[in-house]
Structure formats: structure tokens, C-alpha cells
Symmetry: C2
Subunit: 321 residues, 2 copies
């Protein structure tokens, strides 16, 4: 058992992308110190252990009382093992938790990245003040996570919050999952780009047409063009918002949830994406449920996973203390 | 405070329809004795109090330790007051809980009928053995209820489980709620009948055409015709099942829930409706989530609400004891 006090710090690590991002986080969820490095797909445990060691030795680290790691992949709530990871398949062959615990001396907590980000926003971001929260992140894929009565609801086998595979159009596009019309087929970052490119072939007035001649553009470029007043990009965001809002309405109807926090690259467009989402969610949800829900943008950006992983480690330490 | 023992009985009352249905229920959820009477829309508290009094005096009643009532309407989780009831509008003007507590001497529990039915199936019906359950009832309206970790999840303001207003076709029929394409617009009992009648105008080979000449038919007749092998009725159920399965898939994806229990009049068709529901839910849900869900028919039929209301009263008594 590790010692801890109200002044203890915690270390949270994000290994969900191509960058390993680690932070020393206070017990109140404030980032004290950061480390970033390119993430190699093999030897993840060693890379995480190195970042943990660096942050422990950082000036002002004080006592570190726990370590949490957010990973892109499904994590078993029973064993803490990574069951499957598309981005880092090696993780599912090893036991990251056991390796890290041995390498660092902490009882390291491993959590799905969307769950960790949700908990980060809940404790120190756009979820502060709520008890019940649904978190959505719109990036390469679309992830979701649920917090009820202040705790993550992981579902019966750890897979809750599969927001991206909600059907929003039964006759829609084919999805990699085998279904047709999943939200992800139209609203993930790559699919926003695909829809934009398809439409640009019929309409070349947008600034994105000129950009597209120079290099492949991404969802962040679409958001930026909209922020710069490009009508075409605004139309793409309006439609994307309608798709997301339809799925958000299902969450509102089912869970009657206090707050919905939206994160990921597409939120770089701010109100230009948030407003169409809210408009469609209002239209498609049962009114008394809609009225008790706040729909807001995430505020922690890339700190969400490290902060959330650190705060989950904090709570795990306190649960067993 | 009322006295109680493991041998105590509880009284559960269903005031969700045109019939008041009350039952004396053992602490294990077994119905010991029943009372039924036509329900008048006014003076509901007096009618419930009379049924409670009769069951208390019934032979073998033993000690009655608590009373629960399931009502058609939204009930505030904070106050226990009926906020709105379309079927019994008078309930929202009074304080059923206070009136009943005064009339019976019990600290009477009042709960939404779908929530009560879900808890009945959970404790003594098709939900036995599960910890996490989603309950759906398909009748005049479509209701839903959620049980997580053995407790009702009522949502932030008591409105969780609004399953009937999930959008299953964004360009579908207009709903009374203002949205288009809600599940309820095609799969509630009256809308199953409407769709059947519309289609019968183009196809008169069904036994339902002959029945329709004699009297208005209902959803129960459609189920019966399907059970009797009527191809037309089977087709209607197949399509209805696809609609319901699409919405069920959203529940599976979001909640990764252990068991889904389906009740209401349409389940009189048994596997003829259950199988198309499961087929569509499988197609439209994320595979790892689907694999950890069991989709089954309710087993308590009209006892679900009284048994569930009684068991909620049992748990409330034990919580404060």
C-alpha cells in the first residue's frame, strides 16, 4: 500500500494515440507537470514506466500516491487487462497492468481512454458540478462514456458507451462493424473529410478546394474553415451536427442525464458544431428529458485522458485505504 | 415505523389502466392473493386504500410490512408526487402518496408503472439472476425502465427510459411529441393496428380482413393471427420487430446491459416477435456488446406492476430499518 495525503499527487498517462502524454496531477485534478514523447507501438510498458519515473523525480512532485493509464482499447473491468486494441494490438497480448505495476512499484490502474477522458472532464473540466454525465469524443473514431452517481458505468462486460455505432439512418452507409447507418459512418473525423471531399467535387467555391489542391485536408481544417466563415464548411458542420444530435437524443431519452460533454477534434469548431447538435437533440428528444440536460463542450482538450486516469487512480487508492 | 420479518408480506397496486389490480406479495415476490376492480378516474386514493384494506384482512395475509403503487405517469424521485399523468390527470393535482399514507397508515411508495414492472420482472420474473436490466413494455404507449447494479436508474429528474421516443427513422412519421420517426410512431399497439389496416387495403387475403369486417381489431388480434399462421400478420410482426430491434440496439450499445426483458401486449406473439427483434438488434449493435446481452420475454404478465411495486416497498422498508 502506498502512503497518501491530501497533498499527494497522481500520475496519469495517455497512450491512446501516436504520442505518449503523461502528467503529474494534484489531488484536485490540476496539472502540475507534463511529459510528451512519440509513442512506439512495442514496449509500451517500458515507455510508460520511463515517463512515470521522470515525473516522480520532477521538481515539486512531492509524494506520488497512484498511477493511472488510459489506453485506446477495451479493458476488462474484472482483470484490468486490455482485451482488444486496434491502435496498439500488442497491448492485448501482454498484461500492461502487471508489467507496469512491477516496473513502477504502484498498483497501476488501466482504463479505456474514453472512460478516462470522461472522468477527467467530470472531476476537473466541463463536468464539474454534475453527478451524472455522458461524454462523447469525436475523432478518428467516436467514443462515449457514462458516469452515473459519480462513478463510471462500464457496463456488464466493460463495453458501455459505444456511441459511434448507434444507428441514425437505417438505410445509411455501410459501417466497418457490419451495420448500416451507424453515426460513425458520417460523423467521425475521416468521414467528415470524406463527405466534404465528395461534395467539393460538385462545388469548388470553398477555401477547402484551394487547400485540397496543396495537401490532403483533415477535420481540423474543416473546423478552421468554418471558423473563418467558409459557407461550405459551415454547411458540412451543420449536417454533421444534425447526425450527432440525433444520437445524443437517444442518450437523453434513455438516461435522462444531467450533463453531456462533447470533445474531440470536431469541437475545434466551437459553437458552429455545438449549436446544430443541440438544435437536433432538442427536436428529437422527449421534452422533459431534454430540459434537464446541459450539452456543453469539453474544456480539458488533450489533458482529459491524463487527468482522468490520474483521478481514477486517486479514487482507487482511496477506496482501498 | 412498521414491524417486519422475513415472513412479512407486501401489498402492490397497479393503477396504470382501466383496472385497479392489487396483490398481496411475499417477501420473495410470490403472489399470495389478488384483487381486481374497475378503476374510476376520480378518487383513486380511496379505491387503492379499499384494496389495501381488503388484502390486509385476507386469510393468510400475516403481517403486511409495506405498500407500493405503480401509476401511469411521471413520478418525481425527490417528492414521490405524480408530476404528470395522461391517463389519470387528477393524480397530478393531488398528492397520492400523502393521501394513501394517511388512509392506510403505511409510508406508501409511489412509482412509475414501467419502473415498477421492471422491478417486478427483475425480482421475480424474467430478470431473475441478472444485476443489470433494461425493461421495455409495448402497449398503448411504449415504456422503458433501467435497473443498474440491482437498483432502478430513474435519471436526473425521474424520466429515464423514454424508449418509445428514440428516433429509428429520421425521415419517418410525425410523432405526438413533435419529433419524426420515433419508435412509437410505428411500434406501439395502436400504430401496429394502423399500419396493419393501411396495408390490408391493398391485400385482403389475411384473416384480419375478415375479422375487420365484423369489428375493430387490436394488436392482440394481430398477434393471435400470427400465432395461427396468417402470413400477413407474420409480415407485420416481422417489420415491427425490426423497428423495435433497431432501438434495442441503441440500448445495447450505450449500456452494455446484461439482460433485456420485453413485455406488453405485442409479446403475446411470443417468438414470432422476439426473433425479428433479436435479429435486428444483433445486426445493429456492436458485436461485443450484443454478445453479453440476453434478450428475453417478460414472464409476469399483468402481475409485473403489483409485484414490482410490492418489492420496491419491501426494499424501501429495509433501507430505513
Amino acid at each position: 500500500m502506498t502512503t497518501q495525503s491530501p497533498d499527494s499527487n497522481y500520475i496519469g498517462v495517455d497512450v491512446s494515440g501516436t504520442t505518449l502524454s503523461a502528467a503529474l496531477v494534484s489531488a484536485q485534478g490540476r496539472v502540475v507537470e507534463r511529459r510528451e514523447a512519440a509513442l512506439e507501438p512495442d514496449g509500451v510498458a517500458q515507455q510508460v514506466a520511463r515517463a512515470v519515473s521522470e515525473l516522480r523525480d520532477a521538481k515539486g512532485a512531492g509524494g506520488v500516491a497512484g498511477v493511472g493509464v488510459g489506453v485506446s482499447g477495451l479493458v476488462s473491468p474484472q482483470t484490468g487487462r486490455v482485451v482488444v486494441s486496434n491502435d496498439l494490438p500488442a497491448l492485448a497480448r501482454g498484461d500492461l497492468r502487471a508489467e507496469l505495476s512491477q516496473a513502477t512499484g504502484f498498483d497501476v490502474l488501466v482504463e479505456n481512454d474514453a472512460n478516462a477522458a470522461a472522468f477527467g472532464e467530470f472531476t476537473a473540466g466541463a463536468g464539474v458540478g454534475s453527478r451524472n454525465l455522458f461524454y462523447v469524443t469525436i475523432g478518428t473514431g467516436i467514443g462515449g462514456a457514462i458516469i452515473l452517481d459519480g462513478r463510471l458505468w462500464r457496463g456488464d462486460s466493460g463495453f458501455a458507451g459505444e456511441f459511434g455505432h448507434i444507428t441514425i439512418d437505417p438505410d445509411g452507409e455501410e459501417c466497418v462493424c457490419g451495420n448500416t447507418g451507424c453515426l460513425e459512418t458520417v460523423a467521425s473525423a475521416p468521414n467528415i473529410v470524406r463527405r466534404t471531399q465528395e461534395r467539393l467535387q460538385r462545388d469548388s467555391t470553398s477555401s477547402l478546394s484551394r487547400l485540397g489542391l496543396k495537401r490532403d485536408f483533415n477535420a481540423s481544417d474543416v473546423a478552421q474553415a468554418a471558423n473563418d466563415g467558409d459557407d461550405f464548411a459551415l454547411l458540412m458542420l451543420e449536417r454533421t451536427g444534425r447526425y450527432i444530435g440525433t444520437a445524443i437524443a437517444a442518450v437523453i431519452n434513455l438516461l435522462n442525464i444531467e450533463r453531456i460533454v462533447l470533445g474531440g477534434v470536431i469541437m475545434e469548431a466551437g459553437d458552429l458544431i455545438l449549436e446544430p447538435i443541440i438544435r437536433e437533440a432538442r427536436k428529437r428528444s422527449f421534452q422533459p428529458c431534454f430540459e434537464s440536460t446541459q450539452i456543453v463542450a469539453a474544456t480539458l482538450a488533450r489533458d482529459a485522458v491524463p487527468v482522468g486516469a490520474a483521478m481514477l487512480a486517486r479514487d482507487a487508492v482511496n477506496d482501498v485505504a
